[in-house]
């Protein structure tokens, strides 16, 4: 059976690639600290020695559209091209191609459907920065096969927060029941408080530092119950109009498990939004 080598939850900041590669006058003052934090975070994946990556993210109106919008979708294909014209344009992200792990994708789809989770699927999925940002930060070699899982945190009506937690728990079980002797890292990215296209955007900090502090505590301590008691689809409007991306962090809390304290926690208070990085080792911290 497969082993969950690491569970990783992170923000996905599309500015990281450009900030980390800029030189001279173009290099922002916060770049060096940011790169140092990312390199330390990357080491938490490297030391887990994964063979396969399950990548949880959310399409930002690139391929998935309102005429046919899935709530939860699994990519099953031998390859995934990545990043779109408007992500090159705005963030300078490079075009990429990642290998897919079709056997694990098929296992998650079949077993997930049989467990009453009606997952959609795609056999031709171009993935966006919600998945390529963590590839760039955590595995820049982009050499491991992936199973992308997309969630709808973007186009209401959205699934309830508890549904994200339930999906996370199920993904953990399904990876552990995959009959292959492989080490799988489950990586998901979301947001803390965030405002895009509204009056609170691009401030000196994230739009709601108090929410961010609570969110980091919930995640780091595995306090799923406390988080679900406070977070609703309505409440997530208040910290910022794009804060529903926090539900992907809740999904990852479901993967990590109730009460599972993160083995690695870090954050970085940037303009616009707070960065946060978490790693769990369900089978013990690697030597």
């Amino acid at each position: 059976m497969a082993t969950v080598a690491a569970v990783i939850a992170s923000t996905h900041h599309p500015f990281y690639y450009r900030a980390s590669t800029a030189t001279g006058a173009d290099r922002p003052p916060f770049a060096d600290e940011w790169v140092a934090k990312i390199e330390a975070f990357r080491e938490t994946l490297t030391r887990a020695e994964p063979d396969v990556l399950v990548m949880v993210g959310s399409d930002h109106f690139h391929q998935l559209w309102l005429d046919n919008m899935p709530q939860f979708l699994v990519g099953k294909a031998p390859f995934f091209d990545a990043n779109f014209y408007n992500e090159e344009r705005e963030f300078g992200l490079p075009r990429m191609t990642l290998r897919g792990e079709e056997d694990l994708a098929a296992h998650i789809l079949r077993q997930g459907l049989d467990a009453d989770f009606d997952l959609a699927f795609s056999n031709e999925l171009r993935i966006d920065h919600s998945i390529t940002c963590p590839i760039i930060t955590l595995r820049p070699e982009a050499d491991l096969p992936i199973v992308p899982i997309y969630t709808n945190i973007f186009a209401p009506p959205l699934p309830q927060p508890k549904r994200f937690v339930q999906l996370g728990r199920m993904v953990r079980e399904l990876v552990e029941s995959w009959p292959e002797d492989k080490r799988v890292a489950i990586i998901g990215t979301g947001h803390l408080s965030l405002e895009l296209g509204g009056p609170r955007q691009f401030g000196e900090h994230g739009p709601d530092p108090e929410f961010d502090r609570k969110a980091v505590d919930w995640i780091a301590s595995g306090d799923i119950e406390g988080c679900l008691a406070e977070v609703t689809l309505d409440s997530l409007h208040h910290p910022g109009n794009a804060t529903h991306g926090f539900m992907d962090f809740m999904l990852m809390m479901g993967v990590a498990g109730d009460g599972a304290k993160a083995d690695y926690v870090d954050s970085l208070d940037l303009f616009h939004t707070m960065e946060a990085y978490f790693t769990w080792y369900p089978n013990g911290v690697p030597a």
């Binding site: 930002h60 109106f61 690139h62 559209w65 309102l66 005429d67 046919n68 779109f84 014209y85 408007n86 344009r89 705005e90 973007f154 186009a155 209401p156 009506p157 405002e195 895009l196 296209g197 509204g198 009056p199 609170r200 955007q201 691009f202 401030g203 409007h237 208040h238 109009n241 794009a242």
Partner: protein, 119 residues
């Protein structure tokens, strides 16, 4: 209200480099052409299969034709779509993050709850 069609305009223009430039240079002409020719295109179907009933309201047409991102927000257009396209059109005329901050300042009079973006 046709929030879906507002979003469809923003979505289809933002993903096409030529249309981004056309909308920047000629918003009135682009909106008129798009509503006549493109509004009914089913994006996952062949050109012959068209939707017959989609149209902007006068307020929606006016907001798009005026590049009025505040009005688009108030009409319930998806803020991510509006922001992404408007950055593509206008960031180039400003210093780093200057446009994004001005975009937010122009909406300071708005308060919670924001307009519903559900389609």
């Amino acid at each position: 209200m046709s929030k879906y069609l507002l979003d469809k305009f923003l979505f289809t223009v933002d993903r096409d480099p030529a249309l981004v430039e056309r909308y920047r240079e000629d918003p009135v002409g682009t909106v008129t052409w798009w509503e006549q020719e493109m509004a009914g295109a089913l994006l996952s179907c062949t050109a012959g299969e068209r939707t017959t009933w989609l149209a902007f309201t006068p307020d929606e047409r006016r907001a798009l034709s005026a590049h009025d991102h505040v009005a688009l927000f108030e009409l319930g257009a998806h803020p991510f779509l509006t922001l992404t396209l408007f950055i593509a059109m206008f960031e180039r005329d400003h210093g780093p993050l200057e446009y994004q901050r001005a975009y937010g300042r122009a909406m300071q009079h708005l308060s919670m709850p924001y307009p519903d973006i559900a389609t």
